[in-house]
C-alpha cells in the first residue's frame, strides 16, 4: 500500500512517490551526479590507458611489448607475485586459524598489528628495508661479506611486496572464519578425524571462496605495487624493474606508447581482478559478505 503523503502533483502509474522516497527530480539528480563522478574519476582514466596504448594501432602495441626490457619486467612481476602471494596465503590461513578459532589474551592487539602495513606509506615501507639491509645497518656489512644481495635485487623486491600485501588474505579470512565458528571442526574431530584431516576436508572447503577472494586482492596489489618496490629495487634496467617501474621509466623517457602499452597490461589485470571479484561476490555472497566490510 503506497499512500501518498507528501507529493504535491502528478503521479504516473509506475512511479508513485511514497513518504520514504525522494522526488523523481532528486532521484535523477543524485543518480546523474554519481554517474558523472564515476565517469570523470574512474572510467575516463581507464579509457585513456587503452586509447593511448593503441594510439598507433595494435601492431605497434604488440611490438612494444616484445622489447626485451619490458619482457623481463613482466617476468619479474610474475615471479615476485608467485613468491609473495603463496607466502602471505600460508600466513593468512595460520593467522585466521589462530585468531578465529580460539579465545586468547591479546587477540585484538594481534589483529591490529596484522593490519599495520595498511597504514604505512608505501615509500616508508620501502625505506624500512633499506635501513634494515643497507650498508649502514647492523646486518648490512655481514650480508656484504657473504655476498648476499638483498637490496637492489629480487629478494628485496619480494620482501617489500610481502610487507605491502601482508594483511590481505588474513583480513578476508578472519571475519569469515569467526562467523563460521568451530562447530564443524568439533564435529569432525569427535568423529575421529585428525587435525590435518579436519583442516583439509572441513575448514578449507568452508573458506575456499573467501580465500580465493583474498588471494585475488593480494595478487593485484603484489603485481601493481609501485612506491615500496621503487625504493628497494634500484631501477636496474632489465634486472630489477617490475612492470609498474617500467611504466615510470618509459613515461619519463617520453616513450608514451610503450609506457601505456605496459600500463594497459596492468589495467587488464585490474579489470580481470574486478570481474572475478564481482563474480565471487555474486555467487558466494554469503561467504564473502562477512569480509566485505573493509
Amino acid at each position: 500500500m503506497a499512500h501518498d503523503f507528501t507529493s504535491t502533483g502528478h503521479h504516473t502509474s509506475e512511479t508513485v512517490r511514497t513518504a520514504t522516497s525522494e522526488s523523481r527530480l532528486a532521484r535523477y539528480g543524485l543518480i546523474a551526479t554519481a554517474l558523472c563522478f564515476v565517469a570523470l574519476f574512474l572510467l575516463l582514466p581507464l579509457a585513456v590507458v587503452f586509447t593511448e596504448a593503441l594510439r598507433n594501432g595494435p601492431g605497434e602495441f604488440l611490438t612494444v611489448l616484445r622489447d626485451p626490457e619490458t619482457f623481463s619486467a613482466i617476468r619479474l612481476t610474475l615471479l615476485v607475485a608467485a613468491i609473495a602471494v603463496p607466502l602471505n596465503l600460508v600466513f593468512g590461513v595460520c593467522a585466521a586459524w589462530a585468531i578465529a578459532k580460539y579465545e586468547f589474551k591479546g587477540k585484538a592487539f594481534l589483529t591490529t598489528l596484522i593490519d599495520l602495513p595498511f597504514s604505512v606509506s608505501p615509500v616508508v615501507s620501502g625505506l624500512i628495508f633499506v635501513l634494515l639491509f643497507g650498508s649502514h645497518s647492523l646486518i648490512g656489512p655481514w650480508l656484504q661479506s657473504h655476498g648476499i644481495q638483498i637490496l637492489f635485487a629480487v629478494p628485496g623486491i619480494v620482501i617489500a611486496t610481502v610487507f605491502i600485501t601482508f594483511p590481505f588474505v588474513a583480513r578476508e579470512l578472519i571475519p569469515l572464519m569467526q562467523e563460521q565458528g568451530t562447530s564443524d571442526e568439533e564435529a569432525a574431530l569427535s568423529l575421529g578425524a585428525s587435525g590435518w584431516q579436519t583442516f583439509w576436508y572441513v575448514t578449507l572447503p568452508n573458506i575456499k571462496w573467501g580465500l580465493l577472494y583474498g588471494v585475488l586482492l593480494c595478487n593485484a596489489r603484489a603485481m601493481g605495487e609501485f612506491g615500496a618496490v621503487s625504493v628497494v629495487s634500484g631501477h636496474i634496467r632489465g634486472l630489477t624493474n617490475t612492470m609498474p617501474l617500467q611504466v615510470e621509466i618509459l613515461y619519463n623517457e617520453y616513450n608514451f606508447v610503450a609506457a601505456f602499452a605496459v600500463a594497459a597490461l596492468l589495467a587488464l589485470l585490474a579489470l580481470v581482478t574486478l570481474i572475478l571479484k564481482t563474480l565471487l561476490e555474486m555467487k558466494f555472497s554469503a561467504q564473502i559478505a562477512a569480509s566485505r566490510r573493509h
Binding site: L42, E52, T112, V130
Partner: protein, 285 residues
Amino acid sequence: MTARTVRRWQFRQPSVIPGFGLALGVTLSWLFLIVLIPLSGLALRSSALGWEKFWSLATDERTLNALRISFGTAFAAAAVNVVFGVILAWVLVRYRFPGKRIIDAVVDLPFALPTAVAGIALTTLYAPNGWIGSLITPLGIKVAFTPLGIVIALVFVGLPFVVRTVQPIMEEIDKEVEEAAATLGATRFQTISRVLLPGLAPAVLTGFALAFARGVGEYGSVIFIAGNLPYVSEIAPLLIVIRLEEFNYPAATAIAAVMLVISFAMLLIINLIQAWSRRRYGYGA
C-alpha cells in the same frame, strides 16, 4: 573459598581444536620478521639521531612544506570523497538504474589499478593537451603539475574507502525509522538530514579517516601529476625518496618517522571512532 574456585590466569581458553601452537607460532614469527622488526628498525634509527638532530631535520623548511602539502591535499581529497562517496553509496543502495552492477564493481577500480597506471592516466587526461585539460585550460584552470592535480589523484585513490565503509551501514538502515519520521510530519529532506545522516556519521568519519590516511602516504599516483616543485607541489613521500637518492639517510628517516607517528595516530583515531560508534549506535563502521 576452596582452591577450586580460584581462577588461574589463562593465556587461552581451553579448546578441542588442535593446531593453536603451530598457527600462532607461524603468525607471530612472520609478523615479527616482516613487520615488527623492520618497523622497529626505523624507530631505532630515528632515536639514534638524538632529539635535537631529529627535531632540526623534521622541522626543516622544505620538509615542513612537503608535510603540509601532503596533509592538506589529502584532507581536501578526503572531503571531496565524503560528499561524492556518500551520494554514490546512497545511489547504489537505494536506487535501481541500468548499469548499476557495473558501477558498483568499478568503484573498486582504485584498489585494483596499480597506482603508477592511475598516475600516468590522470596526468595525460589533465595535461593542457589532454581530454579534460584542453577543456579547462582555456578557462584558466590548471590541474596538471599543480597542487590541484595532487588532490585529483588522491580523490581517485581514496574514493572506494568512503563508499565501501558507508555502503554496508546504509544497507542496514531500518526503513521503519524513515516511516516514523515521515508520519511525524518530517519532509523527506528533513528525514534524510536529521534522521539518516547522523546515524551514518561514524561510518562517514571512518571512511574519511581511511581515505585521508591513504592519501597522506600515497606516492605512485601523485608523482606524475604533481609537477614535484619543492615548496609548492612536493609531497612528503617524494621528499623521502629524494633524500634516499642523496644518501641522506638521517633526513629520510626523520621524515618517515614523523609520517609513521601521524599515521599510527590516525589508526588510533579510527579505532576510537569505531569503539564510540559501537557504544552509541550498536555497530562498528
